[in-house]
């Protein structure tokens, strides 16, 4: 199952501490980030750090089932990052989608795609 790693008494705490310092640095960027993209990038970096921490926990607690958690977190972080991308689209909606623009349409869009005012019907 799990074999001893060399110098486990100091290697594992040191790696945990390094991951913690990295997480604090990324959290500073997450709080301070001027744009939404900076925050999404820092969330992505945090999940990558979390994968490492879960794998380290699997070693430190000698419970290798935690590695399945690392696999799941790796998959979910990709899905989460790609879902955040939907936040940034400005004109990605197709013409066949009946969606009204939240804000004004972009200037190079033809006027037919902009929302028509609804007729008031009794």
């Amino acid at each position: 199952m799990i074999s001893e790693i060399a110098g486990a008494s100091w290697v594992l705490p040191l790696t945990f501490a390094l991951q913690g310092i990295s997480a604090v640095l990324v959290l500073v960027r997450l709080i301070r980030g001027p744009h939404a993209t900076d925050r999404v990038v820092s969330i992505d970096a945090l999940t990558l750090l979390g994968i490492g921490v879960i794998a380290l926990l699997a070693l430190a607690t000698a419970e290798p089932m935690l590695l399945d958690g690392a696999v799941v977190l790796a998959l979910v972080s990709f899905l989460g990052t790609t879902a955040f991308i939907l936040m940034f689209r400005r004109r990605g909606r197709g013409a066949d989608e009946k969606v009204t623009w939240v804000d004004r349409p972009p200037p190079d869009e033809p006027a037919a795609l902009s929302p028509q005012p609804m007729e008031d019907k009794p």
Partner: protein
Amino acid sequence: MSNGFLAWLSSALLLLGALIGLIGAIGVLRLPDSYTRMHAASKAGALGAALILGGVAAATSGAFALAAVFALVIVLATAPLAAHAMARAAHRSGMTPKTGPLGDELAADVARERAQASAPRHGD
């Protein structure tokens, strides 16, 4: 004796992965632009996580080492994809990058495509 070698390899990979993750975190904090931060987070962060998972795979054996290698492959396959898609989405939403000497190639490509799409056709 191979067990001792694997133990040393595992420790070295864990420490190297944590150090590279720290370098990536410093890059996320210090770099000037959202795109360069993306570069630090996706490349250095993914390499750090992959090295740690490789260290865990060297320390375990059997099905658990296989699970660690599986997580490693997933990280290496999905992190660049996510960063690439996010960079394109950020560029399309209007964020201008701080360009180096090569300029903004994607903006030039988009402008060229728009010019071709709006130009009158010669065939008919």
